[in-house]
C-alpha cells in the first residue's frame, strides 16, 4: 500500500465532510440561508478544515519522528561491538536500512514471503531466503544486522499502520466535532477565518523553518566533523588532500583562496561594466534605447548558471588557454581562475547593473537639478553628485554581487578545476569551497567519514560568509532607501 493513500483518504473524508456539514447546517435552518449565522458553505469549510488540518499535521509529525525513534530502538538492540564508534554505528544502521528496504521490495514483488522474512529465526535460512530474493547479503553480514533489519522492517510496517490509524482517527474526530457545530446559530465564519489565519501564519513561518533547517542540518553534521577533525587544522591549514583510506588533510585555506580569487576577478570585470551600463541607461540613454537595452542585458541574468558553466568549459577556457596562457607560458589548463572569473563576471554584469540602476534612480531629481543649475555637465553631475549620493546603495549592491560570486557553484565546477592550490597565477586551475562541497557529497558518500562530513563544515563556512555579506548589504541598501523616501 502506497504511503500516499492515507493523506488522500483524509482529503476525501474532508471533502465529504464539507458537503455533509453544509447540508446539515442548512437543514437546521429549515433550508433558509437567511436564518443562518454564516453562509452555508462556510459550515462546509469549517468541517473541511477540522477534518483535514489536524489529521494531516499529525501524520506529518509522526512520519518525521518515526525514523528517529525507530533508529534508537533498533540501535539499542545492537551489540556494543557494532556501535563502538559513531562511524561504525552509522555503517551498521545503513546496512540494516538497506537490507530492510530490500525485504520490503522483495515482499512487494512477491519474490519473498512475509513469513520467510520475519519468522525465520535461523540465520542460515534467512540469509538464503534473502539471497534467493535478490538482496545482496554477504556471508560476513552478521546475525545482529540481519535481525536488526527484520526488526526495522517490522517496525516500519507497524508504524505505517499505526500512523494511518491515528491520522484517520484524528480526521474522524475533527469531522464529528465540526458536524456537531454545523448549526444555524453557530458563528462558523470566525472559526473558519481563525483557522485560515493559522494556515497563513504557518505558511509564513516556512521561511523561518527553512533557515532553522539550514542552520541545524549543517551545525549538526559539522559538529560530527569537528569531533573527528581538529578545527584548527580545518580553518588554518594550507593543505587540502582528502584520501579515502583516511589520514586526509582537510585545510580549507586553499579552497577559500580559490573562491576569493575567482570572485575578485569576477567583480573587477562586472562592477565597472555593470555600473557604467547602469549610469548610461539611467542618465543618458533615450527612453527607446533604455526600453530595448535594459531587458536585453537582464536576459543575461535569466540564463541559468549551468549555461555559463558550459560556456566556460567549451568556449572561454580553450580560448584563454590557446591565445593567452600557453603563449605567455603561464599554464596549459583550460580550466583556470581566469576562465571561471571572467565567465562569472559576465553573469554578474546584469546583477550589478540592475541593482545600481534602481539605486541611481532613487537619487532625487532635485539634486541633479541643483548641480545642473550650477553649470555642471552631466558627467560632472553623475560623478560628483549622483554617485556620492548613491554610494551606500552601490556598495550594498556590490556586496550582494560578491555574495553571489562566492556562493556560485556551476561556473566554478565546470570552469575552475579541482586542484586545491595556493597560487597567484590566474591561468592555473584552482578550486573553490563550492566545488569541493559538490565533489565530497556526490558519488559514494559515507556520512561517518570526515572526508564527507567536511562538506558540511565547508557549507557552514560558506553560509556564514554569504550571510554576513547579505545582512550588511541588505542593511545598507535599506538605510539608503529610507534616506530618500
Amino acid at each position: 500500500m502506497s504511503p500516499l493513500w492515507t493523506p488522500l483518504f483524509i482529503l476525501a473524508l474532508a471533502i465529504a465532510g464539507f458537503f455533509a456539514a453544509r447540508s446539515r447546517a442548512l437543514s437546521t435552518a429549515g433550508g433558509n440561508p437567511r436564518l443562518m449565522h454564516s453562509l452555508p458553505r462556510v459550515y462546509g469549510m469549517n468541517a473541511l478544515i477540522w477534518t483535514a488540518a489536524p489529521a494531516l499535521l499529525l501524520l506529518a509529525a509522526l512520519t518525521l519522528a518515526q525514523p528517529m525513534m525507530q533508529e534508537r530502538q533498533v540501535m539499542s538492540a545492537l551489540p556494543d561491538s557494532l556501535t563502538a564508534s559513531a562511524g561504525e554505528t552509522s555503517l551498521a544502521m545503513a546496512e540494516i536500512c538497506r537490507i530492510a528496504g530490500g525485504i520490503a521490495t522483495a515482499i512487494e514483488n512477491r519474490s519473498l514471503s512475509k513469513d520467510a522474512a520475519l519468522q525465520s529465526s535461523d540465520i542460515g535460512t534467512l540469509r538464503d531466503a534473502l539471497t534467493g530474493a535478490g538482496i545482496a547479503v554477504t556471508p560476513e553480514t552478521s546475525a545482529e544486522i540481519l535481525n536488526g533489519a527484520q526488526d526495522w522492517y517490522a517496525y516500519d510496517r507497524r508504524a505505517a499502520l499505526l500512523h494511518a490509524v491515528l491520522a484517520l482517527g484524528a480526521a474522524a474526530l475533527g469531522l464529528v466535532w465540526a458536524l456537531r457545530r454545523a448549526r444555524k446559530d453557530v458563528n462558523a465564519r470566525s472559526t473558519v477565518e481563525r483557522g485560515i489565519l493559522l494556515l497563513l501564519m504557518g505558511a509564513a513561518s516556512v521561511a523561518i523553518l527553512t533557515t532553522v533547517g539550514i542552520v541545524f542540518s549543517m551545525l549538526f553534521e559539522a559538529y560530527h566533523f569537528f569531533q573527528q577533525y581538529s578545527w584548527r587544522e580545518f580553518f588554518f591549514s594550507t593543505n587540502w588532500n582528502p584520501r579515502f583510506q583516511g589520514g586526509s588533510d582537510l585545510g580549507m585555506l586553499p579552497l577559500l583562496w580559490g573562491t576569493l580569487y575567482i570572485s575578485l576577478i569576477a567583480l573587477i570585470g562586472a562592477v565597472p561594466i555593470g555600473l557604467f551600463a547602469a549610469i548610461y541607461l539611467s542618465e543618458y540613454a533615450s527612453r527607446r534605447m533604455r526600453s530595448i537595452a535594459k531587458p536585453l542585458i537582464e536576459v543575461l541574468a535569466g540564463v541559468p548558471t549551468i549555461v555559463y558553466g558550459l560556456f566556460a568549459l567549451i568556449t572561454v577556457g580553450p580560448i584563454l588557454r590557446d591565445y593567452f596562457a600557453a603563449p605567455m607560458g603561464l599554464g596549459n589548463s583550460a580550466s583556470s581562475v581566469m576562465t571561471a572569473g571572467l565567465v562569472m563576471g559576465i553573469m554578474l554584469i546584469p546583477f550589478v547593473s540592475s541593482l545600481s540602476d534602481d539605486i541611481i534612480n532613487a537619487v532625487p531629481q532635485s539634486l541633479r537639478d541643483g548641480s545642473y543649475g550650477l553649470g555642471s555637465t552631466q558627467s560632472e553631475t553623475v560623478r560628483h553628485v549622483v554617485l556620492p549620493a548613491a554610494l551606500p546603495g552601490i556598495v550594498g549592491a556590490i556586496l550582494l554581487a560578491a555574495s553571489r560570486a562566492i556562493g556560485e557553484t556551476m561556473i566554478v565546477v565546470l570552469g575552475a578545476g579541482a586542484a586545491a592550490k595556493l597560487s597567484m597565477n590566474p591561468f592555473e586551475a584552482m578550486t573553490t569551497v563550492t566545488v569541493k562541497i559538490v565533489s565530497q557529497l556526490t558519488g559514494d558518500t559515507d556520512f561517518a567519514s570526515p572526508e564527507t562530513l567536511v562538506a558540511f563544515a565547508l557549507g557552514l563556512t560558506l553560509f556564514v560568509l554569504t550571510l554576513i555579506l547579505n545582512v550588511i548589504a541588505l542593511y545598507v541598501v535599506r538605510k539608503y532607501r529610507e534616506q530618500y523616501e
Binding site: 539634486l367 537639478d369 543649475g373 550650477l374 553649470g375 555637465t377 560628483h384
Partner: protein, 255 residues
C-alpha cells in the same frame, strides 16, 4: 528708482511639453540689478518660463522652446551656446532646498571647483567664505564647515543653496519659489537676503505669495494660463492693475 538697462530680453517665447502648450508668446525685458517677480496661480507657467532662462528645460526630453531669449544681447538658444557655460552665468535656486549629500564647505566649493575659479586651496577658502557671507549664513556655519549640508535646518539649507549659487559668480540669479518649503522665520531671513542681492545681481524670483513679491521685488510680471498678462513696476501692479485678471488675482478671486 533708476531704470537699469535690460539684462534679459525675451521675444515671442513659446514652450510645449509634448502636446501641452505651456507658455504662450511671452515677450518681456528684465532689467539688470533688480529683483523681478513672476506671480500667478499655480500651473500658470511661471516656473517653466523661469527654467527657460538658463535652459534647465533642456534636461526634459519632451520640452520644446521656440522664440528668442537674449542675455546681454546674445541669443541663449543659439546653437553655439553651451548650456553649461550659460548656467554658470545664470545661477538657480530651487523650490526645495537641495544641498548635496556633502559637507557644507564642499557644497559651496563644488561650483567654483568645476568651473575652475580657484587656483589653490586658499583662494577656494576665500570664495567659499565670501559666498557664505553673502548668503547670510556664514556666522551660523563657520565653525562646522565639514559637517554635512543635509544636517542644517530648512532655512539654513536654502541659504546654503543660495550661497552655493552665488559662489560661481553668476550675473543673474533665478529663484523658483525659494521660500515655499520654509517656515515664516526662515522665509523672512531669505527675503532679506534676496533684497540685498539686487545690488550685485539681476534676480528673477517666482513666487506664489503676492506679499512676498511686494516685499522683495521692484518689477512684477503676472502670468495666467501660460500667457503673461501684465508686467510693470511692482507698486503699479499691486495698487493699480490694468488688467481685470490681475486685479481678480490680487484681490483673491482667482488662484
Amino acid at each position: 528708482m533708476t531704470q537699469n538697462r535690460a539684462k534679459i530680453r525675451t521675444e515671442g517665447v513659446n514652450v510645449h511639453y509634448g502636446a501641452t502648450h505651456a507658455i504662450k508668446d511671452v515677450t518681456l525685458d528684465i532689467p539688470d540689478k533688480t529683483v523681478t517677480a513672476f506671480i500667478g496661480p499655480s500651473g500658470c507657467g511661471k516656473s517653466t518660463f523661469l527654467r527657460c532662462i538658463n535652459r534647465m528645460n533642456d534636461t526634459i526630453d519632451v520640452c520644446r522652446v521656440t522664440g528668442i531669449i537674449t542675455i546681454d544681447g546674445e541669443d541663449i538658444y543659439d546653437r553655439r551656446i553651451d548650456p553649461v557655460q550659460l548656467r554658470r552665468k545664470v545661477g538657480m535656486v530651487f523650490q526645495k532646498p537641495n544641498p548635496f549629500p556633502k559637507s557644507i564647505y564642499d557644497n559651496v566649493a563644488y561650483g567654483p571647483k568645476i568651473h575652475g575659479l580657484a587656483r589653490n586651496r586658499a583662494e577656494l577658502d576665500e570664495i567659499v567664505e565670501k559666498a557664505l557671507r553673502r548668503g547670510a549664513i556664514w556666522d551660523e556655519v563657520k565653525d562646522r564647515l565639514s559637517e554635512p549640508g543635509t544636517g542644517l535646518s530648512g532655512g539654513q539649507q536654502q541659504r546654503l543653496c543660495i550661497a552655493r549659487a552665488i559662489a560661481t559668480e553668476p550675473e543673474i540669479l533665478l529663484m523658483d519659489e525659494p521660500c515655499s518649503a520654509l517656515d515664516p522665520i526662515a522665509t523672512s531671513q531669505v527675503e532679506e537676503l534676496i533684497y540685498e542681492l539686487k545690488n550685485n545681481y539681476s534676480v528673477v524670483i517666482v513666487t506664489h505669495s503676492m506679499q512676498q513679491a511686494a516685499r522683495v521685488s521692484q518689477k512684477t510680471a503676472f502670468f495666467h494660463l501660460g500667457t503673461m498678462v501684465e508686467y510693470g513696476e511692482t507698486d503699479e501692479i499691486f495698487t493699480n492693475p490694468r488688467d481685470e485678471r490681475t486685479e481678480n488675482y490680487i484681490t483673491g478671486r482667482i488662484g
